[in-house]
Subunit: 563 residues, 2 copies
């Protein structure tokens, strides 16, 4: 067997460490400014790739990402694993039942949301194939089908994140959007599998035979996996959970199945990612899949393996020299018009008002990982030119970038306030001196008054009045006094640690963690109280906060879900 | 960039799915019969490799694991990632403080346990290099150093598992063994890094320079990482936990650091696994690393990535044609005598009695992953012949296979009884008819009496007498009546689900899950009661068992830790 030399192994780990480290830094930065992390991962790749590093420091680039020797194969192996495992987790998040249960508006949004952008893309590509970036010699029908498909797919994870941030996920509009996005993903992938099947006829067949062969195999695979396969998996999971080590046995089973599905869809003439996606859906449907098992997969895949893939996108081409303004603008225009009109009109026909319908269109218009994966496969297959690939990546990034601010502007939904955004180092009292309830409130109100340039007496009066009506001791040594303070420009949260002050809690225990919430409006108060009750639903969470020795450790305690 | 063709991608996933699926099946089988799972993973690889599949079905073997084209590089990439990540988790489990805190006996066991097998291996290899499998032209001093090192290393995970199974982990003997095994691992790897440094001088230097260069770099790396690095990591982790998504930010940081360490040690002239191991130790030392973060890494690495590596060991050579009985017997003999004498004598000098000392020697003699990783690296470096590699793998498998039964025989420690081993489908009553406490006990005793060929009246009398003295209602709708039944040949556990029977629980709730424990001896009773209290420490665990619709789901509920 050929082996990687020590030098190859060194280069491999250097390249992977650089990709992962930079991608995670950029992703966290994007999160901080409220944008999808994938934007950061992809931008970093463009920076590390031929566009910037390869252009300005070609020698360093060649050391990190050699284009000769075994390294291209090594990187391709790792990024292929990354994208296949990423599609597994995407599949795990699809809920077939909620798709089948969709109401009228969701159905209309789903169908129009696919049909319009598909039609717009197909027609544009069919009429102007050269302009739209068809590779010389590419079959124009296949090319047009591809462009239609690529413009009609949505980006479930990005959309879910946007809705969650805007506090819209559990509204009726949120449900309509999520189930429509799932439907679009599913239909888009099935369409794309046919495009790929037409491109790669299985060995020995002509193109016509190949398509037939691929279509039959794909239909058998999807149909079989989502019915019989799903049923079997649901029977096998409890057996594994009863008779093998947990979660090891289940994890081994899921990954083996995923890779077998990936191998089968490659054999059928479409790409491995499709097999992983369908297996993910089938496994995710089982009520026996425990949350902790999918949590292990989700965390390691989205935080370690998927970033390898997303960062490697930028290594594939030069995003400056292959940037074609007219083409990019056309792709963005056709994609946005098709999706906004289609999904928006579907929502309007389904009975939504004009503003909500536009918001639905804007949300469905967010794209991301899926388009880009399609673009890479089409690029590798020689179907599209590099300038079209660049246009697709820019379109995906731009649409997911504008969705959240646009919806926000449209329906003026605020982000939910969280405790973590509101606490400050100044308002953290690690050692409360007071030992009585009123003493503690007074001490905390004084600190708050200083921060808000308000009179401490006024704050104390408001807080103690409320305290008299309803004691603010919760269980597990936590007390949460609060009050509405008219005219307060921004919410104030004072966090104090004490050796124990009686706040008349139901369980009789004195409070060791006291969180005082002062807000100018009801909505902020509700947000913050809700966040406190979510954060401290386990007593371990209170313990962790009580043991915070400094403000940093307090922030860490407020950042992480417990158990 | 060169790319994997669709056919390559298909082969890759077929090969990986086969390796993982078979490895997990065999590992679970080994677990069932009480052996370390790694034995199964390695055996499966030997079966799938040139030894069996390649010998009897060469065509199929060539389809699954092609030796030409990009596939060898693909497999090498995946298995290298597997072993590097595995060493990260091994490092996370090392507790430096407990090594530094060792008492006199642990120190003696540690030092003698390394020195004796090292000396025995070194001398044998120095005197009979050809017979001991030195590759033609290999430097005999380096070879002898390698053999000494390879025989002196232990296998921490295997040893920990054996001690846990025999209920010895928390005894004084267990502590001595574990901290000595950690010490041996650390010393063995540092020794081995020098062997590798002598083998691979860094580019441009002579061998003498190379060794000096490597030794300086390795000492700087180990020293720097375990002091300054450890301190920095401990400062950075809380910042990440406070300011990045959790656990994503921390996971990205750990994997980036691991791969950077891996790249550095390859650069220094030793192997990537060493860097990952040292980084693992430094990260594991931080009190800020949360259990859930390391749990994500541990589960995915040991259940998905490590098996790729262990199963691939068998692909490297033919274990039948390269099997040399004399050599294998010599390696086993020297390894066992060196370790048993060294560690055993160390324990004796430290004040242990003769039997315990022998048990310590037997435990320290268990080998596994580490020897085999060393063997692969030496094989790749052209230091040892294939027959020596096979002898080392057989030695590692055999010593870890005999340890548990030998210690068991020596000190007659029973395995702890668990509820899961004791429940049977016959003694599971999914719908208890009785609605009173005595009625329920009577109904359950009748079933138990039938299974034990005992009089139901006698069992009921014993159980209800105990019940009169102390009510058996626990909290959270669980009741655990029990009784000693003289002459009962094996413990009986009856599990019943009820719509609610009052068992006088502290929280006043009627019991919906009733577990009746009947044993002939006190030890079994203690074991089973302890297991019940461990399993049902969260109310979710009781819920899961109460919702078990059949015996399989009950087994699953008893198999898994909750949240």
């Amino acid at each position: 067997m050929a082996h990687l030399s020590p030098h190859d192994v060194m280069t491999m780990f250097m390249a992977l460490a650089t990709l992962l480290g930079c991608a995670k830094l950029a992703a966290e930065f994007m999160q901080k400014i409220g944008q999808p992390p994938i934007l950061g991962e992809i931008s970093v790749g463009i920076f590390l790739g031929p566009t910037v590093l390869g252009h300005y420091r070609p020698h360093l680039y060649e050391v990190l990402f050699p284009t000769t020797g075994p390294m291209p194969i090594v990187l391709d192996t790792v990024t292929t694993l990354g994208v296949v495992f990423f599609l597994l987790t995407a599949g795990l998040e699809i809920d077939l039942r909620s798709i089948f249960r969709q109401g009228k508006s969701a159905l209309l949004v789903s169908i129009f949301g696919v049909a319009f952008p598909f039609g717009a893309g197909f027609l544009t590509a069919e009429i102007f194939p050269q302009y739209m970036g068809a590779e010389t010699g590419a079959n124009s029908l296949i090319f047009a089908l591809f462009v239609g498909t690529a413009l009609s797919i949505s980006a479930l994870p990005v959309i879910a994140k946007i809705l969650m941030d805007l506090n819209l996920l559990r509204t009726e509009m949120g449900t309509v959007i999520i189930s429509s996005a799932m439907f679009d993903d599913l239909v888009g992938w099935i369409l794309f599998s046919f495009v790929l099947g037409m491109l790669h006829p299985p060995a020995g067949g002509s193109i016509g035979d190949g398509v037939k062969h691929t279509i039959i195999l794909v239909l058998l695979f999807v149909g079989g996996t989502l019915t019989l396969g799903r049923w079997l998996i649901d029977k096998i999971l409890p057996v594994l959970q009863a008779h093998t080590t947990w979660p090891g046995g289940v994890l081994g089973f899921i990954f083996t199945l995923t890779m077998a599905g990936a191998a089968f869809t490659e054999y059928a003439g479409i790409h491995a990612v499709f097999g992983a996606f369908v297996i993910g859906i089938a496994v995710g449907e089982s009520g026996h899949l425990r949350k902790r098992t999918s949590e292990h997969i989700h965390q390691i895949v989205t935080n370690v393996f998927a970033p390898f893939f997303f960062a490697s996108i930028g290594l594939r081409t030069n995003f400056v020299s292959n940037f074609h303004l007219g083409l990019t603008a056309t792709v963005i225009g056709v994609a946005c018009i098709g999706k906004l009109l289609g999904a928006g009109w579907g929502a309007r026909l389904g009975g939504m008002d004009r503003t909500s319908s536009l918001a639905v269109g804007l949300a469905m218009n967010a794209r991301g990982a899926m388009e880009i994966i399609l673009g890479i496969l089409a690029l590798q297959a020689g179907l599209i030119r590099e300038d079209m690939f660049v246009a697709m990546v820019v379109m995906a990034l731009l649409t997911s970038l504008i969705s959240a601010p646009a919806i926000h502007f449209l329906i003026r939904r605020r982000r939910k306030l969280t405790l973590r955004d509101t606490v400050t180092a100044k308002l953290f009292l690690p050692n409360l001196a007071a030992t009585t309830r009123l003493g503690a409130l007074k001490e905390m109100c004084e600190v708050a008054a200083e921060a808000a340039s308000n009179a401490p007496e006024r704050l104390f009066r408001l807080v103690s009045e409320r305290e008299r009506i309803l004691a603010s001791g919760w269980e597990d040594e936590l007390a949460v006094p609060y009050a509405r303070v008219n005219g307060l420009s921004h919410p104030l949260v004072v966090v104090a640690k004490s050796s124990g002050v009686d706040f008349d809690a139901r369980d009789g225990k004195p409070a060791r963690l006291i969180i005082l919430i002062l807000t100018g409006d009801n909505q902020s108060q509700q947000d913050l109280l809700g966040d406190v009750s979510k954060l401290f639903s386990h007593r371990e969470a209170v313990d962790r906060a009580v043991h915070a020795n400094n403000f940093l450790e307090l922030q860490a305690a407020l950042n992480a879900p417990v158990q």
